[in-house]
């Protein structure tokens, strides 16, 4: 039977949820031997990535990426944090290519208010 990295990650995450101190080692050992038996050790990096995702989802953390043309104002960041409400993990990025404005990405949602995007739209409407 083939398992996807997501399935492995979910299984490991669930079994680690409410566990006693001494059992953690045992669970990891078992998990390792299962991976070995299924010849799936190569998936370990993907599984770790998935566990992070699952963990964030369970704790209700939203990943937000804010990109600006210049260093982003601290006030703006805290305003954004209040707006999103939930536990927001805000990453700030600087990309001079945007020219101006802000680009905010929340999971799969992109709000592009940069000058670059507006210019692109203008270009499309002119041609």
């Amino acid at each position: 039977m083939l398992y996807s990295p997501k399935q492995y990650a979910q299984a490991l995450y669930d079994s680690l949820k409410d566990v006693k101190e001494g059992e953690i080692d045992l669970i990891f050992k078992n998990f390792y031997s299962i991976l070995l038996r299924n010849n799936d050790l190569k998936l370990i990096n993907k599984i770790i990535g998935k566990i992070e995702e699952i963990d964030k989802e369970e704790r209700g953390v939203v990943e937000v990426e804010v990109t600006g043309a210049k260093e982003i104002d601290k006030d703006l960041v805290s305003k954004l944090r209040n707006l999103i409400g939930k536990k927001a993990e805000i990453k700030e990025k600087v990309d001079p290519g945007l020219i101006g404005g802000l680009k905010i990405q929340i999971n799969d949602l992109l709000i592009d208010g940069s000058i670059k995007a507006k210019l692109n739209k203008l270009k499309r409407s002119l041609i």
Binding site: Q105, D108, L109, L110, I111, D112, K121, L122, S125, L126
Partner: protein
């Protein structure tokens, strides 16, 4: 134009422009290569929805999986990098349709390739559409004249039919198609079908030659050429026939007639195989994916003849399949043969014997077309079929040089002459009433005493004579679509009279 005027115009346009900031659904490219990309995210995407990669490159979502989407890229995939943002467009892939496309050369996305400017149309059809339902259809009843004697008489094609043209490479498959398109010039404008030639994976040089031929003859006036050449990425080849079909469907919906030529579906199957394997769909026989039959059946099913209530339009499909060494029993040929309403089989042996078009009359069939044949053609075609069948049976004896009785010898001679009559040069499609007349002469024994070498000359001179001296007779056949007793008698007299003068001329010549 005035420089200031241009600037004024630009200013106006820019002033009117408002950039709204909206939340968009995005995904990221996980893997890209060979014309396909795997995208993570974009959870609400639809099957065969258009996706936007970066600025100008579009893709098509084909595989929707748990965390990722398998997409094919319609355009240059080399611009796309891992981690690029992919936007959904909420649009199923569409192509422009309408009168603006007639006379144009476009790519499968409907973008012009002929440098004649934009295609101005506000109508778009999605490339995948469910075929017309049974209730809306009608049986085939109007002929589509190809201008090729052997086809119009023995394997007639009706509007709304699907007739496969199958044969090896370099045997005249495309030639049949070009002749058919050129022949539509003879149709009156109101009933002339719009021709859509879809070139899939052909050499650009060949396509350029074909287009030049169309322009030279005036056939481009009612023809659209959709080109996905051998240099285009496989995803473009894969959507080409569907795009062409959508363009034709628009005319059918408006109650007009359209004819689609898919040149050829073997290469289409290859391109779909490539895309499927790259998307990691499981391979089956000859490494084609499991839905290779459905690929062609859903395309060809869209050809239809609509009934009066639904506009009475029609969409005829003439797909081409290229076989390898005459093998019509391999996977793709058998699939398409079973989907279509008949096939025109071209054979290398006949080709090298000089019988061109190299139609194998025995293996070629048209399952519905005879219902659409004109009465006049029906009258001569029945006899023609019989003569040819008898000749085929006896032809083996000719090679033995066996001594045969008079009746058998006569049959062989008749068969030879009729076969000679069915030969035809490329690029000279013949009006159907002329076909009727010359076949009539053949099957009624009027050519039996003309030497084999002179048959072609006789045919040319006789038709010329008819055109010049008796145009009324041809008009009468064309108008009534029938060969009445009166016209038949007239025709017999003309043939006999002409033969005496022809013989004189030949004797003098020698």
């Amino acid at each position: 134009m005035d420089k200031d005027f241009i600037i004024q115009q630009l200013k106006k346009q820019i002033e009117g422009f408002k950039a709204e900031v909206k939340a968009e659904k995005v995904g990221r490219v996980v893997r890209v290569g060979d014309g396909v990309a795997i995208v993570a995210g974009l959870q609400d995407v639809m099957v065969s929805e258009m996706l936007e990669f970066g600025g100008s490159v579009y893709g098509l979502a084909l595989n929707l999986e748990e965390d990722t989407i398998g997409t094919i890229i319609l355009g240059d995939y080399k611009q796309i990098k891992e981690g690029d943002i992919v936007k959904s467009t909420n649009r199923i892939l569409q192509v422009p349709v309408g009168d603006a496309l007639v006379g144009r050369v476009v790519n499968p996305l409907g973008e012009p390739l002929d440098g004649k400017g934009d295609i101005k149309t506000d109508k778009f059809y999605s490339i995948e559409k469910v075929a017309p339902r049974v209730i809306t259809r009608e049986s085939v009843n109007t002929p589509l004249h190809t201008g090729i004697k052997a086809i119009d008489s023995i394997i007639p094609i009706g509007r709304g039919q699907r007739e496969l043209i199958i044969g090896d490479r370099q045997i005249g498959k495309t030639a049949l198609v070009i002749d058919t398109i050129i022949n539509q010039l003879k149709e009156p404008k109101e009933t002339r079908p719009i021709c859509i030639y879809v070139s899939i994976g052909q050499k650009e040089s060949k396509v350029a030659k074909i287009i030049a031929r169309f322009q030279e003859t005036g056939a481009m006036e009612y023809t659209t050429v959709v080109v996905a050449s051998a240099a285009d990425p496989a995803p473009l080849l894969y959507i080409a026939p569907y795009a062409g079909c959508a363009m034709g469907e628009h005319f059918m919906d408006k109650g007009k007639d359209a004819v689609l030529f898919y040149d050829d579906l073997s290469k289409h199957a290859w391109s779909y195989r490539q895309v499927s394997l790259l998307l990691r769909r499981p391979p089956g026989r000859e490494a084609y994916p499991g839905d290779i039959f459905y690929l062609h059946s859903r395309l060809l099913e869209r050809a239809a003849k609509m009934d009066k209530k639904h506009g009475g339009g029609s969409l005829t499909a003439l797909p081409i399949i290229e076989t390898q060494a005459g093998d019509i029993s391999s996977y793709i040929p058998t699939n398409v043969i079973s989907i279509t309403d008949g096939q025109i089989y071209l054979e290398p042996e006949l080709f090298y014997q000089g019988i061109r078009p190299a139609l194998n009359v025995g293996l070629s069939v048209s399952r519905v077309g005879s219902a659409a044949q004109t009465k006049a053609m029906k009258k001569v075609a029945g006899k023609l079929r019989l003569d040819l069948a008898q000749y085929r049976e006896l032809a083996a004896f000719v090679q033995f040089g066996a001594e045969l009785d008079k009746a058998t010898q006569d049959r062989i001679e008749r068969g030879k002459r009729v076969t000679e009559v069915l030969k035809q040069k490329q690029y000279v499609p013949m009006a159907w009433e002329k076909q009727v007349v010359i076949i009539y002469a053949g099957v009624n024994g009027y050519l039996d005493d003309i030497p084999m070498d002179n048959i072609e000359e006789f045919e040319n001179k006789f038709l010329e004579h008819l055109e010049n001296m008796h145009p009324k007779l041809l008009e009468e056949i064309h108008r009534s679509k029938d060969l009445s007793d009166k016209t038949e008698k007239q025709l017999q007299k003309i043939i006999i009279d002409f033969k005496t003068t022809f013989k004189h001329a030949v004797d003098k010549g020698h």
